[in-house]
Structures are given as C-alpha cells and as structure tokens.
Symmetry: C2
Subunit: 335 residues, 2 copies
Amino acid sequence: MTITITDVARIAGVSVATVSRVINYPDRVKESTRCKVQKAMDENHYVYNALAGSLGKSSTRTLGLIIPTITNPIFAVSTQGVQSAAARRGYSLLLGSTEYDAETEYNLVQLYLEKQVDGIVFSGRPLNDRSLAYMKSRRIPYLFTWEAVDDIDAPHITFDNRRAAKQVVDYFVSMGHRRIGMVAGRFKDTGRAYRRWMGYKDALVQWEIPYDDKLVIQKPYSVASGREAATRLLKMEEPPTAIFCANDILAYGAMAAARDLGRRVGVDVGIIGFDDLEMSAVMDPPLTTVRIPGHEMGTMGADALIDMVEGKKPETVQYVLETDLILRESVPRLN
Amino acid sequence: MTITITDVARIAGVSVATVSRVINYPDRVKESTRCKVQKAMDENHYVYNALAGSLGKSSTRTLGLIIPTITNPIFAVSTQGVQSAAARRGYSLLLGSTEYDAETEYNLVQLYLEKQVDGIVFSGRPLNDRSLAYMKSRRIPYLFTWEAVDDIDAPHITFDNRRAAKQVVDYFVSMGHRRIGMVAGRFKDTGRAYRRWMGYKDALVQWEIPYDDKLVIQKPYSVASGREAATRLLKMEEPPTAIFCANDILAYGAMAAARDLGRRVGVDVGIIGFDDLEMSAVMDPPLTTVRIPGHEMGTMGADALIDMVEGKKPETVQYVLETDLILRESVPRLN
DNA sequence: AATCAATATGTAAGCGTTTACATTTAGATC
DNA sequence: GATCTAAATGTAAACGCTTACATATTGATT
C-alpha cells in the first residue's frame, strides 16, 4: 500500500542504496540518475519514513523541551526561541509541560528518551531527582535554561534571578519605600521562585530593613492568586507601600486588587512585576517590571545543545544573560 | 553499548518475543517469567526504543498539532487542551506553528507525515492548498478546530466566529452605539479574521448602519498594532464611539491608545475584544469580550481525532461549540 | 493415564531505512 | 588500447522492535 524506498528503486531501475543517497547525499549521485529517482519519487508520491531512517542512522534530529506550563506566556517566548533555532538547524522539537509536577516531568524525560531525542532542554532545575539521575545514566546531552543549576555538571543558559529580584527591591527603596511586600511563586514549584525571594531578602539586608514574614505570600502563578495575595497584603493593619510580584501575571492580579480597594497603583501603592510580558506596557498604569531574555535564552539554549549533539563545542557553556528593570509608571515616589 | 530487547532476553533466559510481550501485553505472560524479565530490564537500565517499536507496529501513538503561533496565549489554552486529552489516551504531541506562513505550514505537514504521526489537528483552515491536497493523498485522519471549513470533507470542532462577532456589534448597538469601528485581523492570515468581519457587517446590515470602509483596519495580532490602529480610528474627524477588536491582544492595545488620547474606556469610548484571555478580567476597566471554548475545543478535537485513528467513530464529527459575550465594563451606554 | 483446550513461549520473517564494503563505470594518462 | 584512479552504483547486513505461526507446557476432564 504505502510506497517505500524499495518501490522507488525498482521503478527507477536502481538499487535502494542509490535512492537513499539521493535523499541524504544528493551530490554523491550522478545527475542523470538523480533525476530518474526524483521523478520516480514524485510520480508515486513517495513519503520518506523518518522512523525507519532514524533507526538506521544514529540520530533523530529531534530535541526535547521541557517547560513548566505552556499557559504562562513567558514560556511561550522562550519556547519559540528554542523552536526557531532548532528549525534553523534542521531539528524538530518535542514539547512537553510538567505543570509543576515531578512525576509528570519524570514521565516526560522517559518518553523523550524512548523517542530517542538527540538532546533535552530543561527549563529550570528538574523537579525530580530521578529525572536527573536518569539523564545522567544515558549518554545524551542536556542543558538548563531559566535558572542556574550549580550543583549539576551540565551547561546552562540563564540569567540571574536573584540579582534581578534584588534590583527590583533596590529600586523600591530608591523611591522611598521601606515596607515592601512580595507575592512570590511557590518555592516547591520552582527554584526560580526561591531565588527571587532570596534576592528580595538580599536587598532588605543591604538596606537594613527587617524581614517580615507576613509580607511574603507564596502563590501559584495566576492572575487570580495575585489578586488574592495582594488583597491580603493591602488589607493588613500596616500594609506595604510597595509589592514585588514574582511575575507579571501575579502583578496583573495585584493591580486589580489595588483598584478593588481604591488604591491607585503608581500613586498610593507601588507594584513591580517580573518577565515584561507584551501586555505589561499597556496596563493602566504601565507596569514596571524586569525584562528577561526569554527568546534569546531559547535560541542560545537550542544552539548550544545542538552543538553538543553534533560534538562541536566544549560541554561547558555557562551563559548568564542580562536582565533589565524596565521603569514605567507603577511605582510612586514616596515623599 | 545500548542495551536492547535481545540483551534483556538473553539475560533473562527467554526469547525476544517474550520480552516484547511483557512490554506490550504483560498479562499474556506468566507472572514468574514476567518478573524475571522485569528484573533483567531494571537491573540493566533498559530503555524502550519507540522508534523501532513504531516501525514494527503500524502506529506511533503521536498526533501532530498545527497552530498559527504559540505566542498568542489563546492558542496556548487550546494546545493545552489537545495535549492533555492526548496524554490521557496515551498519545504524545508534535507541536508546530506556522507563524501565518503558508510554506511553513506545508513543511510542517510534510514533516509530520514523515514522522508518521497517526493524525493531525489543524487550527483553522490550512493556509496552503498543497497542505490539504497532501493530506488527502495520504490515508491518515485529520480534523479542524477554530474555524469551520465547509468546503472540505473533514470533521471539525469549532465555534461560530461570524455569529459571535455579530453579537458583539449587536451589543454595541443595544448600548446606543451607531458609529462602530473594527480592528480586524488580516484576512489573508486567517479565515477567522474574515469571518469575524463578516459578522460585524451582518450586524450593520441588520441595524441599518451604512458600512464605512475607513472604520475597519486590518492588522496582525499584536498589542502594538492594536494601539496603532485604534489611535488612527480615534483620531478621525468623525471617530467611532465603539471599537470591536478581533482579539483581546488587539483590544489591550486599543485601550492603551484610548488612554493616550485622553479618552476613558467604558465612559467615552467602548471597546470589546475576542478570546477572553485571563488578563482581560483585570484590565482597567475590565474588558468586555467574547469567551471562546479554547480548552474544550482542544480536548474534543484530540478525542475525536483519536477516535478516528482507532477506527472508533464515524468520520463526520461536526461540533459547533458555544461562545459567550462576557459583559464587563469597557462599554459605556450612550445617552 | 490419555485427551484436549488453554495458556505460555519460541522461531523467524518482517517494518523501511542506512551504510560498510564490494563492484562497476568513466575518464584521464601514457 | 592498456592502466590507473576516482566516481558511481550495487549488495547485503545491520538498526531494535513486533507478530503470525509453530511448538511446548499446563492443568482440567475423562
């Protein structure tokens, strides 16, 4: 029923090896026969079977990418980076999300290995130590993005979550804020959430502001939980004048919370986010936030991984990309 | 180097067929031998080779999904739907985006076919007639989401873009608006954009409002272009009192444009979006928009496709899901 | 103990490629 | 035209699994 390389060979009157060559190394076959074969393929609507092909070669020219969730637009941009860089070099992408679940992540790793991907890009530290152990036991390359993973001997392309978070709080302080709350991500979900909290604390230490437990609320990343958390903070007897949200999604929720309570963002209360999503610039007021190199991180990650796959580069790429605090109008200067 | 089914068989002292059976049909092998084999697999860190497996069976248990872009969050939600429904039934997903380019789409289809996917979910009508012809020439099932494709004999799971758009304009009219602009998507990019424009016109006809060319601007979907287009509309000598944006992303831009020009959304000018993204509820003011069944469309699409793949259902699923106009505060009542 | 039907396992031929190696062909050199 | 080298093509053995079919084992039934 389906036509194979063998059929094409028969029709064109050549051997299967020759057909395989016109597919893989066209310039190793004489032009006249190449045309004959090409014609036979076209006329019979031959479709290459990549499964069989990869079984013969060692490689599938496929990368696996693991992200927390596709639902947060920020992972869409890094994913697009990985995808486009991979495509540019002739690789395709297997995409999977963990939804912050360690077991799901492990299954994903296993699936990828079974599907014989040539390499895996992780977004952040693996949630599951088994995932890592599994990877190490195999011989395929992998790397980390989104978060440095110091204790693991693998390359990473990342940015400094802790430092970026500290800069946020530094800025609040420079605007006269001393009582600063934080809507953090859940530390058990991601190391990034934890690092950003560390950065928050670093700044407090530097500016000699006592750490207050009640000012920090861990929440999953969603608009609704940002709203809840910020509502709680703003309703305290002694509410913060500024709130650092661990990502823009949470910040949007926090802005809504402030409005609900009649506090004007950028006038009565300061809010800063993290990620610089496309929408942040058109919030009312425009949201001050940390721009992270999502797309770049993706492309560099894919490129570095492919280099490893193809044995081109040393295995110790350790890039730390720059972040920028984008100043907009969501932070008032306190008299 | 890598350990295969043959190694496992040798170690466990059984035949390869038996090993294959413990992998695929565990209950067809006696418990004692199953344990022996399992042990041999575990101790030697055997990893199943899905490539070789699929070559033997007919199926890869993999679906291909084609979306316009991963960058618009609304496709993230339908993608997540497809993904989760597929996973639930033991299928994995190959994800690719066309970026609204016909050639890219065709390449994607070709890639999927080469990778032997069991079926393909399209998001909207194929941009490229060759894609479609190609699909038809193969024997693998496919279906459409996001948009009915009447002239193609394939199932679809969709919603009525035209009707939903008409309801938007109906609502504007019911609030006293007669001069209504539209920031539309580009008709050449998607049929959905065109359909929504048709719905806009349907309403104008019904309410006997003359169609004015200058009130409709086609733009690619981005915040920036929404802002541009709305700016242009609002700066007209006789500006619209209401603007229908073909998606929420454009609407966010339009809201910013209104603010830039000192027009209060929901008071001086009405804006309605389309998609009901998570953020729309926390815009200032909260954005009135059309909620579409993105997640449901995804899950139903995947389920229907898998049914087809597995030969379970008639091939003529034609679901039209419901949309809802979510009334919030971005539309003023005109005196 | 013989018979029979399940049940469990083994044998070996695919699945559609790739590729090392062998063979043929072509073109250049004398 | 004989010789040699390089280029073009062919042969056949992998790659790691599945599965139809054959064979062996088991246990119930008589």
